[in-house]
């Protein structure tokens, strides 16, 4: 091996090979123990925490020259965060990037799961701010580790039940806790609970990286993922009275957009690729040329 070859390959995807080995070993154990948080010796990345350094480290350890990368933030490929992470890997790994969910082999995400069903040949990497679902109940890591070991999840149910006592329903709408493979309670990262059912039995491998707390966890494909709930208060996802103003979709996660300073507003798909694809296929919403819109006609 020549000096030149070493220099060229050493920093593929920024991380050195030693760090990648350590992250890769953690990833394999995470896959073998679905939902369990594996500690790893995280590295400083050339971006601030909150920019998804955990997800970036996982992506850097996984990505290869044959991958096509997509990066989304709140469903959009065009936020500063998504653009900077995408450019980082385009530069350090030389891989092609895409906005299109269907064309990506590796998708790094913050706060959403794409609307389009993912495939077996795709990997979804989540950026995680707080990996420990029990942290707000118990600040000590030694204690939460014990609680997971003993499956002591009663307090988590008490917390959700307090929601019901206070609000009449479970008020948690983001980072809604799930039970993985009937064993570990897991934080799905701050995705809307609308996305929770997509994690269950997903064909793609799902990997989670928390940079500040240095934890990696995983969901193998076709793994049972159940949102915590109660018999008398079953888990339900968010629903909207509106449909997407641009593409007319009635089954997607919608963001509210303020149109002017007199309060006109519309709802649009949070997943911009999905919305664009539907519009390209001729679907139209009420704010986008579908003058005949009625809720019935949209079905």
């Amino acid at each position: 091996m020549t000096e030149q070859q070493t220099a060229d390959s050493y920093n593929f995807a920024y991380l050195d090979e030693q760090t990648k080995r350590m992250i890769r070993r953690a990833l394999l154990k995470a896959v073998a123990i679905p939902g369990y948080q594996v500690p790893f010796a995280g590295r400083e990345m050339p971006m601030p925490y909150g920019w998804g350094t955990g997800g970036v480290q996982v992506t850097a350890a996984v990505i290869g020259p044959e991958d096509t990368l997509k990066v989304i933030d709140q469903g959009s490929d065009d936020t500063t965060n998504a653009v900077s992470i995408r450019n980082f890997f385009a530069k350090t790994a030389g891989v092609p990037t895409t906005d299109k969910t269907a064309e990506a082999t590796l998708i790094q995400t913050r706060h959403r799961i794409p609307e389009k069903d993912l495939r077996e040949d795709q990997i979804l990497v989540y950026q995680v701010p707080i990996p420990e679902p029990l942290r707000f109940l118990e600040p000590r890591e030694t204690e939460t580790r014990k609680m997971h070991a003993l499956e002591e999840y009663g307090l988590m149910h008490v917390k959700l039940y307090e929601d019901i006592a206070r609000h009449g329903h479970i008020a948690t709408t983001y980072a809604y806790p799930v039970l993985v493979n009937d064993r570990y309670v897991m934080d799905p990262s701050p995705i809307p609970k609308f996305d929770n059912p997509k994690m269950n039995d997903m064909a793609a491998l799902q990997l989670f990286g928390a940079g500040r707390e240095k934890r990696i966890y995983a969901l193998p494909p076709y793994t049972k993922v159940k949102s915590l709930d109660f018999e008398d208060h079953p888990f339900v996802i968010q629903k909207w009275d509106d449909i997407c103003g641009m593409c007319g979709a009635d089954n997607t996660f919608l963001d509210e957009v303020i149109l002017d300073d007199v309060g006109s507003r519309m709802f649009v798909c949070s997943d911009s690729d999905h919305c664009n694809e539907r519009q390209a296929a001729g679907h139209r919403g009420p704010q986008n040329g579908d003058a005949s819109y009625t809720p019935e006609a949209a079905e």
């Binding site: 890769r24 953690a26 154990k29 073998a32 369990y36 350890a61 014990k146 570990y184 193998p220 076709y222």
Partner: protein, 200 residues
């Protein structure tokens, strides 16, 4: 040592980043989909190892991962090769190993000494790389669990005596347990602790 046997390390990866990524993705794919047979590149292996097992060690082992080699695998060349390329300690104590290399000749009582981790740290467990001659889709072992849509079947030959009983007991320890990678010369398949197995 005799002059008849080459005890020197063989060459490692030509391009470490690209080749180790390729091998890692193969292992990740296999571990994520228990029973799936995945091809790996044919890097020449030292006496005792086979190409797939060699590639896995060069990809994942380093000074933080003690390696245990069963007697029939622990040739002088294999030990020199592993030390040279990975910097890993080769230990004679299976209970300290994070990677263990064994074969059908290995006594199951040795494999049973591998670490399963603890309930609070189940990830601190060994990964067993089992050298085999052939992997195929014969319905010898039926597997269910995470990573498997309905049911997966895997044929593995040869296996150590008592291996399937050990593997069934291993999966009962979940979340503790040993994760197994079957390494035939040119392909690999995995049996993580999360898989339940039925033997036909």
């Amino acid at each position: 040592m005799t002059a008849m046997h080459n005890t020197s390390p063989l060459a490692g990866f030509q391009n470490a980043a690209a080749e180790s990524n390729h091998v890692f993705r193969a292992v990740l794919d296999a571990m994520s989909r228990p029973g799936k047979i995945v091809g790996v590149s044919d890097l020449a292996a030292p006496a005792g190892l086979n190409p797939a097992a060699n590639a896995i060690l060069l990809t994942l082992a380093d000074m933080d991962t003690p390696i245990w080699l069963a007697d029939e695998i622990a040739t002088e060349q294999a030990i020199n090769h592993i030390r040279f390329h990975t910097g890993a300690e080769v230990t004679s104590d299976p209970s300290r190993a994070l990677f263990a290399i064994a074969s059908a000749e290995t006594a199951i009582t040795e494999i049973a000494k591998l670490s399963s981790g603890t309930p609070e740290a189940p990830h601190q467990s060994a990964t067993l790389i089992l050298l085999v001659e052939d992997l195929n889709a014969a319905p010898a072992i039926q597997m269910t669990g995470p990573g498997i849509k309905t049911k997966e079947t895997l044929g593995v030959t040869p296996l150590p005596d008592g291996f399937l009983d050990w593997a069934q007991a291993n999966s009962c320890k979940f979340p503790c347990g040993v994760d197994v990678i079957f390494a035939s010369p040119a392909s690999l398949a995995a049996l993580p602790r999360s898989s339940q197995i039925e033997v036909n």
